[in-house]
Symmetry: C2
Subunit: 427 residues, 2 copies
């Protein structure tokens, strides 16, 4: 029974293991066990204090990730394990696919104008606020520093919001669709902003002009992906499932559904967008009517089949996100003033964005709050800034970077309780 994980091609790697198995999966599944059970205790606590479960998962992660401050190095290997990182990445892809499945392309189109306006206001306002705040607080730094900090405040991290909406069973409201749609458009804008900012700084460093053509190409590729995948996807999906329904194999629906989601996630990444944008688009495209034959044959909808996979992998994402929250960032010297200012600007910038939504009776406050969380993009921007120089001066130094980290942590952590409050305040 030993015998399973069969690795003819990789046998030399096994040879070093000596007696026994030393299966590389062993530490990974142990960590998964810890994460899954801890997530439920965190979710329980959050539910008892009437908060979305995801807040509990984040907090249990923060606790596990920061026990090292007490001198216990117990969970460090989990936070930085590349395999758990991969499970968490696939987890958030599954989450956005699941959220996408709850809506259709035409439902999203109905809120398209609102989403576009919310996204645009939500990019311009935080950028401007971040720019002027940095100019005011760091007058000795170059203008490029302010441009970079402004850029880090633009892009929404929709994972948290998507999860809160699911926890509260609100993901099919117009407000939820506007936030999700705006986040997709945000991602496209973030891509373009990054191209512009890097272009400007590169040009300044070389003393040349910004090359506008590359920026245009980036924009065209991203928009082409979104429009192309939605149009082509809606045409392709029923045809794909028609072929799939002829296959004499079990669980064909899940295999093709996940296959479609994963393929679009890859394509989005290939274009330069986040994989979750592709996964969300895939979810929007696939509809029950496309796979009616398979649903009848296998007696389950795609949502029902994806749910247990989501139960398994999604908590890995949020607990790990919590574990990677380095509380020491808050104590970095000279960071607190800038960090506080950035947090305030980040929040105001997106609350203003909520006002961009058009339509009667919309809960614009919740839309704005849903857009608040920042995440990887801000960090990617900041870390790119750390590597860029203009005339020998680093664009982003350690102090600014820590302030951005704090901004990301705070906007992530406050969203679940605040969103829960705004969504339920009218009852």
């Amino acid at each position: 029974m030993l015998a399973l994980t069969f690795a003819i091609a990789t046998v030399p790697a096994l040879a070093s293991e000596g007696s026994g198995h030393g299966d590389p999966a062993a530490p990974v599944v142990l960590a998964l066990a810890v994460i899954l059970v801890a997530a439920k205790f965190g979710g329980d606590l959050a539910t008892r204090i009437k908060q979305p479960a995801v807040l509990g998962e984040l907090l249990v992660g923060v606790v596990l990730g920061n026990v090292s401050l007490l001198g216990l190095q117990l969970f460090e290997p989990i936070a930085n394990n590349q395999f758990l990182d991969m499970f968490s990445r696939v987890g958030v892809i599954i989450l956005l696919f699941e959220v996408g499945l709850e809506s259709t392309v035409s439902q999203m189109m109905k809120v398209g104008v609102s989403a576009l306006l919310v996204a645009t206001v939500g990019v311009v306002t935080p950028f401007a606020l971040g720019y002027f705040t940095t100019r005011a607080l760091l007058p000795a730094h170059s203008v490029y520093v302010a441009i970079f900090v402004g850029a880090t405040l633009t892009a929404t991290s929709v994972g948290i919001t998507a999860r809160v909406l699911k926890d509260l069973e609100k993901s099919q409201t117009p407000e939820a669709r506007i936030v999700l749609g705006a986040a997709v458009i945000d991602d496209v804008m973030g891509l373009v902003i990054l191209a512009v900012v890097i272009g400007i700084i590169g040009a300044a460093d070389r003393g040349t002009e910004l090359q506008i053509s590359e920026v245009v190409i980036t924009l065209v590729k991203a928009l082409g992906f979104l429009v192309g995948s939605l149009v082509l996807g809606v045409w392709l999906s029923p045809r794909m499932f028609k072929i799939a329904s002829r296959l004499r194999a079990n669980a064909v629906l899940l295999a093709f559904g996940l296959g479609f989601c994963f393929a679009l996630a890859w394509l989005a990444d290939f274009i330069g967008l986040a994989p979750i944008v592709g996964a969300f688009a895939a979810g929007l495209i696939l509809e029950d009517v496309h796979y009616k034959d398979l649903k009848d044959k296998e007696d389950h909808t795609l949502e029902e089949l994806v749910k247990p996979i989501s139960y398994f992998l999604v908590p890995v994402f949020f607990v790990l996100m919590g574990m990677r929250t380095d509380l020491k960032s808050f104590a970095a010297p000279g960071v607190l003033t800038l960090a506080t200012a950035l947090v305030v600007m980040a929040i105001i910038g997106k609350l203003v964005a909520g006002l961009g939504a058009v339509g009667k009776g919309l809960d614009r406050l919740s839309i704005g709050v849903g857009m608040i969380p920042r995440g990887e993009v801000g960090l990617i921007f900041a870390s790119i800034g750390m590597q860029l120089t203009v005339k020998g001066e680093k664009v982003v130094d350690q102090q600014i970077f820590s302030a951005v980290v704090v901004m990301v942590i705070v906007t992530t952590m406050i969203t679940p309780p605040v969103l829960k409050w705004t969504l339920n305040r009218r009852r």
Copy 2:
């Protein structure tokens, strides 16, 4: 929306990516999409020629993995990707957990004597056959070579058999339980044999005697794990679920069920056994009555919740297993005679083992066939042998290693069709 995969602790790693995301999950999910869809086409083909679906998954893997022979390097990155390897390892853990869930500890105890006899005969016979065959075919080599080759023929790789039994809905028959139980015992014996063989060869190389104490410790640890986990697990499981049922969170049953499975898989590996032995034991231990409260609350059994996860991850294991089958091994010079002899001995050895089952009306041929597949253990043994020397002579050379690889491939590939035939021949 960019913003998701949040990696405060690992930011420096992101900085090198330049514009766009370059999410490391992108190539992995693309490969998963290819594997999932290919698996269904393979399963369809197998079903049409009245074979278990798993044979189709293996064969589609062999085709994808060997197109490089035609000069196409298309799928090489999949076969050797460490993340896909990890998904496949978790997949086979899930498979054995699922199979374990279909039986109970007491049902396994009923076939305990048969399983023990089948395992014992199934270790002794192939060892003896392998030993004498090697002595006859390679008379110039030392006696230690023959001992090593004998050892590579002993351990069963039960993943294939478990999957065939599931495909044919036979996993709850007494024959299935005997095979699965014997495979568990096999794993313990394999561990002891490895310790003994390495001890003998080390002693021969040093010119000293075999240290028997280490072998005894290995055996005691392995048996202690099996008995301990079953006894303690049956006591622990209802208590664990009682606590779990008080948690106010969703999907608690799946989190605790998987957590239990993963923890035992880790523990098995820690002792020196295969993780799948632990996962199978976990499945045996957990029973519906232990979590009646949670089942009523969440309206699903653990089997129902695990199934979609299994649909997702199990094909990854079998397609990857196929992809790693290097057809070039068959063409290695001077290998074919030894390889053919080993295949014949491997098969006869386990068919004889089937006769060890006690009880009326048992299908002993199917039991023997179910024990035929060899896998990783044989390869681990062989690759350890390649690193050992006795008085300067390598115990296992490249030619013998290739013969073992061929033996593993053939025993794996023939099992699905032969087992299907033997199981259905009485109808």
